[in-house]
């Protein structure tokens, strides 16, 4: 894997939070996925260290946890940047040119989809339809949504977050 990742930097507070979540769900039917969702909310991603804690806490084999984490697109093994850019590649956005937006961002940031810039500032994802088809083509930066875009809007948007 050429993808670079940062060393695990979990804090005792995060661990305490995770233990609490595990305790709440332990013994419930089908608890694994809800626990993974909450763990990702706590840590921002699901490195192997976190998976080990969940495996022990829920008494589910680590292989099974890893199998689930890698199956679902929403679970990430890599940390995300401070600003996470998601370019919608749903059909409505695609036919209106969101592929070109994605290429422009890759070009400017020098990263591929799923990667994070070395300074930890930006990460890039090609998302499925986010349902804002009326604004196609769209991209999101964290919670902000930008719609009705053309390629020339991209440098300005990225610059805004660099400052």
């Amino acid at each position: 894997m050429k993808q670079k990742t940062l060393p695990f930097q979990g804090t005792p507070e995060q661990e305490a939070q995770l233990k609490k979540v595990i305790a709440e769900h332990k013994g419930q039917k089908g608890a694994t996925i809800p626990v993974l969702h909450e763990a990702q909310n706590i840590y921002g991603y699901l490195p192997i260290e976190v998976q080990e804690m969940i495996s022990e806490g829920l008494n589910v084999p680590l292989a099974e946890i890893y199998g689930i984490v890698t199956f679902y697109a929403q679970f990430s093994l890599n940390p995300k940047g401070k600003y996470h850019i998601g370019v919608c590649l749903g059909t409505a956005c695609y036919v209106k040119g969101s592929g070109d937006l994605l290429n422009k961002i890759k070009e400017i940031l020098g990263i591929e989809v799923g990667e994070c810039t070395p300074d930890g500032l930006f990460s890039l994802e090609a998302t499925r339809c986010i349902g804002a088809c009326g604004l196609a083509p769209v991209l999101t930066v964290n919670e902000d949504v930008y719609g009705r875009l053309v390629v020339d809007d991209i440098p300005g948007i990225i610059e805004k977050y660099r400052q």
Binding site: I33, P34, H37, Q74, G90, T91, A92, I130, C133, L135
Partner: protein
């Protein structure tokens, strides 16, 4: 509830929220307060109005003024002019609602976008505040559940649904009443479940999300009715985590229903118990397939299981489970309240009722529409959808997402229902309807969908896991100008193999985009492989740019814009493009002020 003289309805759907409706609501509340109107005018955050292209949308009652593309800066004017002085802010009105030559505004039912629509599943969307159960109850909410629990036996409920002719709205079109009957017939010694499939994964589809955001109680109530009919006491809604607003509103709705005793133990004092929980998906398209969805709820990888046994016999945790889609549930309460005969009177012989479509792509009124079954594609595109922007020509409509196909222009008068779409090689699907114009390349579209299925194939069945990848590679080859005529035969052969050799709906339908484009747009494929041209001008490797000497003024702007120095010439005489150097970025076309550069 306090009595207000006016209501300001602001759309809180995902489309309008993305373009800033939250800030508009905040500003509206602040402005009302500043003008001392906060007790007289009530601001309501509703679900989707449907006309997402014009968002953010605001409707002010009692006048019914439909303001479109409202910006935060406009709010002050609306409050001071309209709400304080009673003068409608004309410049913000949706122009279709202005009656020519007079000061009157038309009601929404007279607007073309709404005229052909019939709202059953979307009845309350854009009308009520989805976060307030009292508003739902005021619109006959939980009346159907009350009627079912106090006046009807479970079998009577199933009979009404059967008689209505309702079919599954998730795409398969299986008769809903039959599904209920099968689940009811299974033994419930160890318990049963009802579940709702809200894992709407088709790219470009947002019907279910809009229903859950705009009217979550209608689904909750219907699930309780279903649970009573089949003998279940526990329900799950499996919803995409990508829909944060819908998740939040559903949770609020469930909590409110519990507080009112409409969920939980001994509902309406009849001894009927029903509990409902949310389960979040985690971004896997295959989880929209019913058995994969159940594996996912159980906390496993979302891989499909072989059928039979069907979920009605062995579903969640091996117990009989009824699974319906969001839109299917959204029809249930209306059928119970208005009767099976009423529902039967709408639609076609084999497709009863309405269907919600998410209109997207190259169309003026992108948004959410609900039309009776049997409405033609032309009516949807040209009338409801307001036609295609920039005077372009309709080329095809894609329905059914990655499982569906493209409907070409000569079939635009096809009445839309399950069977008619199947007959022309597409499918109803869950309701995504993407319109394409002459600028879209059909080979590229097929490739786009295959890229999606390659990504989303769960990997369990080899024909789907490997076969879709091979299909994608052949399509990629064709778009790069390296395809041959034999490749077209290979595409067909492989497609049929994948259809036959896959366990679940994902693999069985994954080749449909290829097959339908091959069927209706074969000439376009042939142009790619024989002439090495992309008629729509999309596939970059097949394009060549040239300068029309007559039109070129020799200004040199294009040669300065060209990133690779492929354009040369003398000032004031025609320039030339060196196609060996050209990387086909299109910068020259955009820069030329005289339209002298063409791509072919």
């Amino acid at each position: 509830m306090e009595f207000a003289r006016g209501h300001v309805l602001v759309c809180g759907g995902t489309g309008c929220t993305s373009s800033g409706s939250e800030q508009i609501i905040k500003e509206m509340e602040a402005q009302l307060k500043a003008n001392g109107l906060e007790k007289e005018i009530q601001v309501v955050k509703t679900g989707c109005f449907g006309l997402c292209a014009l968002g953010p949308i605001m409707i002010v009652y009692p006048e019914g003024a439909f303001y479109s593309r409202v910006q935060v800066e406009d709010v002050k004017e609306i409050v001071e002019e309209h709400l304080l002085k009673g003068r409608i802010v004309k410049r913000l009105l949706y122009d279709e609602t202005i009656e020519e030559g007079s000061d009157n505004i038309k009601s929404l039912n007279e607007v073309t976008f709404y005229q052909k629509q019939l709202r059953i599943a979307l009845k309350n969307c854009g009308v009520i505040n989805p976060e307030n159960i009292d508003e739902y109850i005021a619109f006959d909410g939980y009346k159907a559940l009350g009627k079912v629990l106090t006046e009807m036996t479970p079998q009577e409920v199933i009979d009404v649904i059967k008689e209505s002719g309702l079919r599954g709205r998730g795409g398969g079109g299986f008769p809903t009443g039959m599904k209920w009957q099968f689940t009811a017939n299974s033994s419930n010694e160890k318990g049963k479940y009802v579940a709702c499939n809200a894992d709407e994964g088709d790219p470009g589809a947002f019907m279910d999300r809009s229903i859950l955001e705009g009217d979550p109680h209608s689904v909750i109530e219907a699930m309780a009715i279903a649970a009573y009919a089949v003998g279940a006491d526990q329900g799950y809604i499996y919803i995409r985590a990508e829909y944060p607003i819908a998740v939040k509103r559903l949770q609020i709705a469930i909590d409110q229903a519990k507080e009112y005793g409409l969920l939980g133990e001994n509902i309406f004092d009849t001894g009927f118990n029903f509990n409902l929980e949310l389960r979040l998906g985690a971004g896997a398209f295959v989880c929209g397939e019913e058995t994969a969805l159940m594996n996912s709820i159980e906390g496993m990888r979302g891989e499909p299981r072989p059928r039979p046994p069907f979920p009605a016999v062995k579903g969640l945790w091996e117990k009989p489970t009824l699974l319906n889609n969001v839109e299917t549930y959204a029809n249930i309460c209306q059928i119970i309240l208005n009767g099976a005969e009423w529902f039967q009177g709408i639609g076609t012989e084999k497709g009863k009722g309405t269907k919600v479509f998410a209109l997207g792509g190259k169309i003026n009124n992108t948004g959410l529409v609900e039309v009776p079954m049997g409405t033609t594609l032309r009516e949807i595109v040209e009338e409801v959808g307001g036609g295609i922007p920039n005077g372009k020509k309709f080329k095809a409509a894609q329905t059914g997402g990655p499982s569906g196909g493209c409907i070409p222009a000569h079939l635009i008068d096809t009445p839309i229902d399950y069977d008619s779409l199947m007959a022309i090689g597409s499918m109803m699907g869950s309701g995504g309807l993407i319109v394409m114009d002459e600028d879209n390349c059909m080979v590229d579209i097929a490739k786009f969908f295959l890229e999606f299925t390659v990504d989303e194939s769960c990997g369990k069945c080899t024909p789907c896991r490997v076969g879709t990848k091979r299909l994608y590679e052949i399509l990629d080859k064709i778009t790069k100008g390296q395809g041959t005529l034999e490749d077209l035969d290979r595409l067909e052969e492989l497609s049929l193999m994948i259809k036959e050799g896959s366990l679940c709906g994902l693999g069985q339908t994954a080749p449909n985009p290829v097959l339908s484009t091959l069927k209706y747009f074969r000439d376009e494929y042939i142009a790619h492989v024989v002439d090495k041209k992309c008629p729509a001008g999309v596939c970059k490797d097949l394009l060549s740019y040239s300068i029309v000497a007559d039109k070129c003024k020799g200004c040199s702007l294009c040669s300065r814009k060209c990133p690779v120095g492929a354009i040369s010439g003398e000032i004031k005489s025609p320039f030339v493009i060196d196609n060996d150097k050209c990387i086909k970025c299109g910068a020259c076309i955009e820069s030329c002020k005289f339209g002298a550069i063409i791509k072919s």
